[in-house]
């Protein structure tokens, strides 16, 4: 454990933890878009900026708190004019990049930005290249997508831009995306994501499609759960539970309940 100072408060943190975790633990808020608790720090969105100053030094500097390990005696300020100004500039750029992303707009509005001072990027989608989708996919062990291209041409795509062979259609990437930029469409028992169609398993009782075949197989293998767990959708499972509960508690009315 080592001690540091966050916004004038003495805080102790374990060696090796990142500043962001220590700041949030101390009860202060720092906005992030690319950070996720279960993933390695990535430092792409540049929103978690804070000002740090080593003891004995006069000048502070701006660092990304998600990827800066805690140091003994470090003086951290999360809301100085320099931090606010730099964050505003970052949001100005993000807003030009992803003008329609609601999370970006919310964060920008918080520092008084409603329109980017840069010309909006017309030809692009709302991807801010935070790589959360890629990292989540890798965490799940599928590695179906990655970032390709360099500079302004960089984008997230499946290998060779073709429908990804390793994808199981779990949809984690689409749900985790901070700018809702990944399209996931479900229609007629099929899920379409990354230009690939997945056949979905239907609930044995109501016929609702609720999980892709590939994802089910992968989950069964990893969790060791029996397949019977996955036979009905959550609605039907709940209905069955209600029936069972009532039948057990009121044996005489079993006939009515069932």
């Amino acid at each position: 454990m080592l001690n540091l100072d966050i916004n004038g408060r003495r805080v102790s943190a374990r060696r090796g933890t990142m500043l962001l975790a220590a700041i949030r633990e101390a009860g202060f808020d720092v906005p992030t878009l690319c950070h996720h608790e279960v993933l390695e720090p990535y430092g792409a969105c540049r929103l978690c900026l804070v000002e740090v100053r080593r003891p004995g030094r006069k000048a502070g500097r701006i660092v990304t708190s998600c990827s800066y390990p805690v140091e003994a005696g470090l003086l951290v300020e999360t809301d100085t004019p320099a931090v606010r100004e730099t964050r505003r500039e970052v949001l100005d750029l993000l807003l030009a990049r992803a003008p329609n992303a609601s999370r970006v707009r919310e964060l920008a509005a918080e520092c008084g930005l409603y329109r980017s001072s840069y010309p909006p990027d017309q030809n692009r989608d709302n991807c801010i290249l935070c790589n959360l989708c890629v990292r989540i996919c890798a965490k799940l062990g599928f590695n179906a997508i990655s970032a390709a291209g360099r500079g302004p041409k960089r984008e997230i795509q499946p290998p060779l831009g073709e429908p990804p062979a390793d994808c199981v259609g779990c949809g984690s990437c689409a749900r985790i995306c901070p700018t809702d930029n990944i399209s996931l469409v479900e229609r007629a028992g099929k899920r379409r994501i990354w230009e690939r169609d997945f056949e979905m398993v239907r609930c044995k009782q109501c016929g609702k499609a609720y999980i892709t075949r590939e994802y089910l197989a992968s989950r069964l293998g990893q969790s060791g759960l029996p397949e019977s767990h996955f036979e009905t959708c959550d609605e039907c499972s709940r209905a069955a539970l209600a029936k069972t509960m009532f039948a057990h508690l009121v044996p005489s009315e079993k006939g009515d309940a069932a």
Partner: protein, 135 residues
């Protein structure tokens, strides 16, 4: 053993106060659709409030690839650590009782966590069909 949230279906009158109480406790909008407890109509005038059973060997915990679900030491309930959840939704179909649900705008999974030891549903249930008591 600490306290348990118990359900006595024979006392339930189907008023759905628990659903509203739950939704207000957990979501700012108070939409009953985001409730973690659901009153099911089993037959005519037969109501059963359904919520997480906090299984000893929980399928949701086994299905989670990132250990975002774990049992609270204080209440014994299984909680979702929202900051760890990666929205893979594996726990939703895995629960054999259908008690994991998806909260739509954030796409995060939600489940009953007995409100950290002070369940709103039991507090507001007028007939004590839902009770939080020593077991």
């Amino acid at each position: 053993m600490s306290k348990l949230l118990t359900v006595t279906p024979t006392r339930c009158i189907g008023c759905r106060t628990c659903e509203v109480a739950c939704a207000f406790r957990h979501a700012q909008e108070g939409l009953p659709g985001r409730s973690r407890v659901q009153v099911r109509i089993v037959a005519k005038d037969v109501f059963v409030p359904v919520l997480c059973l906090q299984c000893d060997e929980a399928a949701c915990v086994k299905a989670c690839p990132v250990f975002a679900l774990w049992r609270s030491q204080e209440t014994g309930a299984i909680e979702v650590r929202q900051d760890r959840c990666i929205r893979c939704n594996a726990c939703v179909p895995a629960c054999p009782f259908g008690n994991m649900s998806v909260e739509n705008p954030r796409k995060a999974v939600i489940k009953c966590d007995v409100c950290n030891g002070d369940p709103a549903c039991a507090q507001f249930c007028p007939t004590k069909a839902l009770e939080y008591r020593e077991y």
